[in-house]
Amino acid sequence: MKYIFIILFFTSSYLFSFQDQDSKSAKVSFEVSGVCDMCKSRIDEGVIKIKGVKYANWNINSNNISIIYNSRKTKLDSIKKNIAALGHDTDKYKAKDEVYQSLPECCYYKTLSIH
């Protein structure tokens, strides 16, 4: 009888974790301008906090970001717009100058020829 309790414990955890798994997940990868570790934490943090984004990982070497998001809650276009608002260029939206100027020093991807 007591073991049933543990099984219930487990299955309820399982069901709990799957409550939002049924929704449509989309996986995308595109380039985001950036330079350093500081940019990485800015980009990863900024993107994961967009509602509907489940996973974000920006690669320093390739400058590509992998994103998994719930296509019912957000659109790719709005994710890119949000990234540009953080100060990092994407193919579709560019960062505004004043936002770019406020980036941490190591993130000046426009003036820094090395990355």
């Binding site: 007591k2 073991y3 309790f5 543990i6 099984i7 414990f9 487990f10 955890s13 399982y14 709990f16 974790s17 409550q19 939002d20 997940s25 996986k27 934490s41 990863d44 943090e45 994961i48 906090k49 984004v53 489940k54 996973y55 974000a56 990982n57 070497n61 998994i68 020093e105 190591c106 000046y108 003036t111 820094l112 020829s113 090395i114 990355h115």
Partner: protein, 741 residues
Amino acid sequence: MKFKLLFFLFFLVLKSYSQEYLTGNISYLNEENKSISLEGVSIYWLDSSVGVVSDENGFYSIPFQESKNKLVFKMLGFNDDLIEIITLKKYNHVMIESSSKLDEVIISKRQKTIQKSYFKTQNITNVSSDELLKAACCNISESFETNPSIDVNYSNAVTGVKQVKMLGLESPYLLITEENIPMIRGASQVYGLSFIPGTWVESMQITKGSGSVVNGFESISGQINVELKKPYSDSPFFVNVYSNNMGRNEINIHGNKIINDKLSTGLYLHANKNSSINDKNNDGFLDNPTSDAFNLFNRWQYINTEKGLVSFLGVRFMKDEKIIGENTQDMVFIRDPWRGEINTNRFDSNFKFGYVNPSIPYQSIGFQMAYSNHDQDSFFGIRNYNINQSSFYSSLIYNTILGSTLNKIKFGFNYSYDDFDEVVDKKNIFYSRIDKSFGGFFEYSYDSMDAVSLVAGIRYDVHNNLGDFFTPRLHMRYQPFEKSVMRFSVGTGRKSSNIFSENQNIFATGRDIQILNKSGKFYGLDSEKAINYGFSFRQGFFINNREGDITFDYYVTDFKNQVVVDWETQGELSFYNLNGKSFAKSLQIDFEYQISDNVLIKSTFKNFDVKKQYVSGFKQNPLTPKNRFFTNIEASTNERENGSKWKFDLTYNWIGTQRLTSHTELVDFDGYSPSYSLLNSQITREFSNKLEVYIGGENIGGYTQSNPIIGGDPFGADFDTSLIYAPIHGALFYLGLRLKL
């Protein structure tokens, strides 16, 4: 053409205030890859009017500008560069011709050997294999001597075993895992840490406080997780030899082979021998046992990155023999000599399997199982102690997210089975017990990615001897500023009371052993249960452009039930259930400062208040220093191009007074041991990245306890080897070599 440019930027740091100059040379690499000085390069601080031009030797000198640290290098035909100058006074720059592309910059920082994270929710200290090298000999229990979080004590005067304590509590109250499989428990509790050779270890994680629910309910004051070397990433061949002036010789040989891109295997061998008879204090007893040990470990690693699979399989065999007692070689006896032997055989096997869905990287599943058999046959004079423990452990864990990776969850099961058979003391009393438990756990973690994170876990276990119970645990972190972090944790823990295996030093005495309770499931005693809570604050700072930090840790372990081991009465030893209060309060203040690029200093003050209710009153734990002070200085020379360098390490320990239990031969002490100091040092010469030689000394001042063995007749009731507050042997010197191919 591709270039790699290496910057050594030592992070951090305040700006220079006085009118100082940044100087350096500017060069470029020509087609033959030769470095040529570059004249006429414009150098200026970004957004400022201060600029200079390099001379014909490529030399430049530019005054520092307050609040400016981005330096621009410009030259027609070359790429413009923007470099952040943080701590440097001298910076040489290599310009790249416009046509070529520089694609990689490596910024490196000297790694500290003990690292505390600002970002982890739990109070975890990571100990790297480099730190383990500082105490060259030889196994994990000895490796903590240079680590302030863990205290190392001798448990008695004859077995040479060092026991570890954390937050003022002995190692049975710690959960010690090997790659997250509970490992040193039950029968192996006392000697287990000494059975893991230091060179096998890749890193260790020391968690203060109750830890995670994932690995079980057992951790009370903390967790130590040991990560072993992995065949895929370890060097193909490694040898370490060690020898000391007490006659101990050790050898470690590792071989690793990568069979194909997925499969690799490693074979690790350790042996040690100590055949010399040492009785430096002339008490007629060997200061340390003569011993022989052999340890063999084979592991297999399978990685398939395309499919997201990783698996480990390991098999290990260990044999250890120790002979202790009176020096029968150099003495003539009119009675039987007091001798003892501790012979241990152990077999371990484990299997681990993990799967990460390559297209959904935040979902993973892990399975692990382990079987071990630990068999110890021993006698101490006329007292016997044999224990055989067979254990099986298995766990299944699933990791996923809720909504986004800011909210992660883990859940799963553990099953553990332990079968104990013991033969105890003069009358060979036989005890047999089976512990079985099955539990489910759920752990939620939240990370705001900046200031706040928390880990909240709960588990429910069904245990045949401990009953059915919940174990809740909570860890929180708040980081208001980049260099300030606060942590809080609270949680409960329980454990079986393996009184004999955890307190084997009782057998090397003449004390009459009594168990005062009858109704409990563990030798008549109840299981142990405690709540642990604590607070930690860490503040980083920069003084003189160098990094440092200061940490305050305060932890309390409050026992709801404990098995009291009562040494208070001479000639007697009793075990009974706690009737009243028992707590361990630990305050630790750490200070760390990088004095120069090559010198790091660490200092720690610890205060322990460990008290419990004995039959004879509410008292401080015996043989537990109330105050301790620790300082470690590590220094090294800069690495030459051929990889050679010198490393120096010095550790100073001051151990305060300790309460002694009453014994007629200790009356002169007036109840408290004297305080004393210990000094350890090591010098390592790295000839290259492959070969290094080390020499060192432990207890260089040679402080020893004057009367480690007391009570006269070793077969009488007053005989005692376990009232130990200081080292038994004096200065120890060693020499060793490491070869890595």
